[in-house]
Symmetry: C2
Subunit: 363 residues, 2 copies
Amino acid sequence: MPAARAEGAGKSGPTLEQVAARAGVGRGTASRVINGSPRVSERTRAAVQAAVAELGYVPNRAARALAAGSMDAIALVVPEQENRLFAEPYFSEILRGVSTELGDTDMQLLLTLIRDERGRERFAQYAAAHRVDGVLLVSVHGDDPLPDLLRDVGMPAVLSGRRSHAEHLPYVDSDNLLGAQMAVEHLIGRGRRKVATVTGPLDMYVARCRLEGYHEALRAAGRSTAPTDEHLVVEGDFTEEGGRRGMLELLRRDPEVDAVFCASDVMAAGARLALRETGRDVPEDVALVGFDDSAVARHMDPPLTTVRQPIEEMGRAMVRMLLDLMARAQDDAPGRAGTGGGNSTQDQPRLLLPTELIRRRSS
Amino acid sequence: MPAARAEGAGKSGPTLEQVAARAGVGRGTASRVINGSPRVSERTRAAVQAAVAELGYVPNRAARALAAGSMDAIALVVPEQENRLFAEPYFSEILRGVSTELGDTDMQLLLTLIRDERGRERFAQYAAAHRVDGVLLVSVHGDDPLPDLLRDVGMPAVLSGRRSHAEHLPYVDSDNLLGAQMAVEHLIGRGRRKVATVTGPLDMYVARCRLEGYHEALRAAGRSTAPTDEHLVVEGDFTEEGGRRGMLELLRRDPEVDAVFCASDVMAAGARLALRETGRDVPEDVALVGFDDSAVARHMDPPLTTVRQPIEEMGRAMVRMLLDLMARAQDDAPGRAGTGGGNSTQDQPRLLLPTELIRRRSS
DNA sequence: CGCATCGTTGGGAGCGCTCCCACGCTGCAC
DNA sequence: GTGCAGCGTGGGAGCGCTCCCAACGATGCG
C-alpha cells in the first residue's frame, strides 16, 4: 500500500491522469471506464474503479464540457412575471419533480429567473451559444419569443403547459379541460341548479381550457350553453381581488347563483370573501370549487373542494422528455441525415397528465 | 463592411480567437478587454468591443472555468427535509432575492436539492472538488455536517439562519427574537392577560429564539416567567396538526387563555382549527399571532396578525456576503500570508435583518 | 505457418480560455 | 547617445478531459 496521499494537497482533487497512473493504465482507458464504455476488460475496469475510490476522484465538469462540447447541464427558466405562479406550490413542486428526476443523472440544474427584457435577451444569447444542453420553460406566455428562438438555434426545450391548442413545441401539460369538467359535473351532481364560473384571463390558454371544461360539463348534463346563459361566466385574472369582484358581479347578475367554479384557488378565496360580505354561507347557499389544490384551499373556511394537478409528476415528465430530446439531438447530429426513422418535426413529444378532484367541505 | 457571417454556422458561437482576429489584435489582448483589464489602450478596447458585438460573441464558460480554475457558479443547497420550508413562500422568496442579486454578476445559480444521505455525500464530494465557487445553504439543521465540511475544504459558504447562538460560519438571519417579542408585546398591549405560545421544535435554534422573544416580552411587561407559568408554553413542530394539538393542550391546561403566539403561521392555522372546534372566536375569545407572513396568514379567517421577515432581502444579503467571501478567498490564496489586515477566522461576516409586525384582524 | 481480424489499450490532438512571459516601443534620466 | 523603466501587446503553455487513431497481442482462417 504505497503512501500516496500528499498530491493535490490544497485545491482541486485528483485528475484522470493520476487515476490512470495509479491504476497502471492509460488516460484513455481510465476515461473509458469512468464513462462506462463496454470496450474495457473486466480486470482493467476493476483496477480503475479501485483507483477512483482510493483517490476520491471526481471528474472535472469544466474540462469534460470543454472537451466533449456538451455542458451536462439543463436550465430551468422561470419568467418572473408578477411572481404569481412563483409563490404557489406550483413552482416548488415542479422544482422538486425536476430535481428528483435529475438526481439519477449527473446533469446539473441551472436555475434562471428572467426578470425583464434584458434578462430574456441575455438568456437567449446564452442558450444560442449552447451553454446548456437543454431548457425547461415554466409558464411561458403565449407571446414569449423565447421558445421559438430556442427551437431555431436547435436547443432542446420542453414547456410546462401549452401556449395554445396548436402548440408545436414539446410540452407537458395537465388535463385542465377534464379537470374543470369534473369540477362542474361534481357541482351539478350535488344538485346545484345555477352553476357559474369565474375564469382566468382568457388570453391564457390554460384559462380557456378550464372554461371549455365548464361548458363541456353543462353540455353533457343537457344544460344550455347558449349565449343567453353566458351571464354566468365572468372573466377573472387569477388574483384574489379578481375572484372577489367576479363573484360580486355574478351575484349582481343573478342573485340565485348556487355554485361557482373558480379557475384557481386564489380566486376562490376571493369569491369566498365576496360571499361572506354578502352574507352567504358556503356551501349552504353557494357551493365553491377551485383549481390547483394550493395551500389556500386547505386553509380556507370551509376547506375548498378543488382540482389537483400532478405537478411534481409534471416536473419529472418534463425532465424525461427533455433528456430524450437531447439524446435524439445527439444522435441526429453525426451524419445520418435521412434514416428510415423519419423524425420529422411533426412528432414532437407531448404529454397530458390527468387531474383529480379533491372533495372538501365547500361543495 | 465585410460580409463575414458564414462562420460557425450550426453549433456553438464564435471563439475568442475569432474575435481577436476580427479586431486585428492578439488573443491575449482580446481576453484582457473582455475581462475588463485596465492595461489596454482605448483604441484597442473599442476595436475588440466592436468585434464582440458584430460576432455576437459569448465566452465559453467551460473553457474559462477550466483555464481559470474557477467555475463562475454558486450552488444553492436545499436539504429537502419534509419539504416543509420548501412550499412556504420562504424558499421562493430567498430564491428571488438570490437570483436578483446574482443578475448583476455573470455568476451561475446551481440549484441542488439534497434528498438523502447519498445526495448529501454526493454534493459534499462535488464541493470538495471545487466544482462551484461558493455555496448558499438554506435551512440547515444543527446536526448537518455539510457546513463544517465545506469550511474544511475551504469552500466559501453562507447559511440562511444560524444553527446556534454560537454560529461560527457566516450567516444571514432575521431577528427572530425581536420579532417574537414584538408579537407578544402587541398581544399584551391589546390587553390580553394570559398570553400563551406554541413553539417550534426546540432543537431548532430559530424556535428557541422565538420562544426567548416570548419570554422577553413577558419579562419586559413585568409578568412572571417563573416555571409555574411554563404551563402556557407548549412545544409544537411547525406543522398544522402540531399547532392544533398545541392549542388543544393549552386550552386543557388553562381554559382562560386569551392570546396565543404561534411560532409559525401554519401552526397558527392549526390553532385556529382547534379554537373553532372548541367554539371559540378569534379574536374575541382568543387573539392569535403567527410568524412568517405566509400566504396562509392572509387567507385565514380572520386574517392573521403575523411577523414578517425580509426574506428576499435575506437572499440578496446572502449572495453579497458570499461574493465577498469568495473575493476574499481569491485574494488570500496568492502568497500574501500575514498581511496587515489580519482576517482571522474570527471575524466571519454575519447579518441580522429586522422583522416587522403585520397587524391583521386576528388580534 | 503466415496473414487478416478483433478486442483492448495508450496516448496525441485539441476543446476555448486565462495566465504569464517576453517583446517592441516610447519617454525620460543620465 | 545610451540605458532603463513601463506600457501595450502577442502568443506559448497549459487547465483536465474526450475523441480518435494507431498499435498491440491473441485469435482465427486460408
